[in-house]
Amino acid sequence: MFQSLNRLKESPSQTAGPYVHIGLTPNFAEITGVYPDDLGTSMVNDKTKGERITITGRVLDGTGTPLKDALVEIWQADADGLYNSPSEMRGSADANFTGWGRCPSGMDDGVFRFETIKPGRVPYPDGRMQAPHVTLWIVARGINIGLQTRMYFPEEETANAEDPILGRVEHRIRVGTLIAQKVEGGYSFDIHLQGDKETVFFDI
């Protein structure tokens, strides 16, 4: 016989469903007057340090059709590579940058959009530096557990080449699914849920 570890089980995930906007972006869902603003709409202000960028993208299903009911959240470091989180022990992040954003895909075109800044580099646990990246979390009707992925920057060829996580992608042909495209005014990052162009998703 032995002692029990006495751990609880994590609450199992369930899909966010098609009406996720009611709870997470009620103003977008035309439920007004309950919250002043939808959380995560604004990540920067006039004083935020760093290079302003716009990230747009879509979430596409196995037929290449954009989802019009997905919700995307991003989490990233500030321009100096610090996270605006109590768990950040390396220093104080830019108080004028939230690091976190939330955006539903458009009900007509399926496009999500974030006005943010380009993140600085952050260390991997063994001390190597990771390339600049944005962490994404995607939920929608038909997605039973939120999907985690990352967006890297196309102009960071040297940093990307030494990034410990990109280095873990066995099928090198898939690395490109994690790298955004430079477009007029910012970056475009489409997320393919399924098929030949399937984005790399993480179990983190």
């Binding site: 089980k9 899909t15 439920i31 768990s87 997605i143 399924q194 399937e198 983190i204």
Partner: protein, 251 residues
């Protein structure tokens, strides 16, 4: 956004326990038809958490309005209230180590008593309730506790199988202390015969997993002549202590 002092406890910086992906629903669950084209077919790439996932946003109590946890009143016209069975939902947000998670943002949303959502894309013939919006939020207290007041949602039909109905449910979104804990789930009601019939509940392989999402009626906490109470605890991923990490300062 982040609020330094939510508790005297030291910030948590350790890596998370791995997720049990046999306990969670799989991505591809064809009984739930929409999952067929929205499920990755390639294996997930497993990583031990980096600082990008062990950190996460923190929300201050300043975002919470007075009626944010009262769905009976937060969309109602002055002097009116939502129609339906009045209930209180309460519980704790815990981690897998059994510790309460203070300062966790919970967001919840639901249909009205007739099973109708207030959403442009919802076409069910059951009527909207002019005094019910369907959204609310809370930030957990020092012990991880939360509560809110609402009306019990109704079941509703959905175009999956030819005659599929969702059990009465409330959706929950939860933030812990790290982005890797991010979780969305659904709460079901003790004794609802629709639960075992539902293709979304049946994305869970283990009957104990569905039980973990089913709130228990609590007559002790019920307010006589006012509102019944349901207890619903939510468990987020636990963290290894930084004591066990190579780098004592976290990573």
């Amino acid at each position: 956004m982040s609020e330094g002092k939510l508790s005297n406890r030291r910030p948590e910086t350790g890596a998370f326990y791995q997720r049990d992906l046999d306990w969670h629903p799989k991505a591809f669950t064809p009984g739930y038809k929409t999952s067929v084209l929205r499920s990755p077919q390639k294996a997930l790439l497993s990583l031990d958490g980096t600082i990008s996932e062990t950190t996460g946003p923190r929300f201050g109590h300043n975002i919470i309005g007075e009626l944010d946890n009262d769905l009976i009143l937060n969309f109602a016209r002055p002097g009116e209230s939502a129609i339906g069975p009045r209930i209180i939902v309460y519980g704790r947000v815990l981690d897998e180590n059994g510790r309460g998670v203070p300062g966790a943002l919970l967001e919840y949303w639901q249909a009205n008593a007739g099973g109708r959502y207030r959403h442009r894309k919802e076409g069910y013939q059951a009527a909207l309730d002019p005094n019910f919006g369907g959204c609310g939020r809370s930030i957990t207290d020092e012990d991880g506790g939360y509560y809110f007041r609402t009306i019990q949602p109704g079941p509703y039909p959905w175009p999956n199988g030819p005659n599929d109905w969702r059990p009465a449910h409330i959706h929950f979104s939860v933030f812990g202390t790290g982005f890797a804990q991010r979780l969305i789930t659904q709460m079901y009601f003790d004794g609802d015969p629709m639960i075992p019939l539902c293709p979304i509940v049946r994305t869970l392989n283990d009957p104990q997993a569905a039980a973990a999402l089913t709130a228990k009626l609590d007559m002790q906490s019920t307010l006589p002549m006012d509102s019944r109470a349901y207890k619903f605890d939510i468990v987020l991923r636990g963290r290894r202590s930084t004591f066990f990490e190579n780098r004592r300062e976290g990573n």
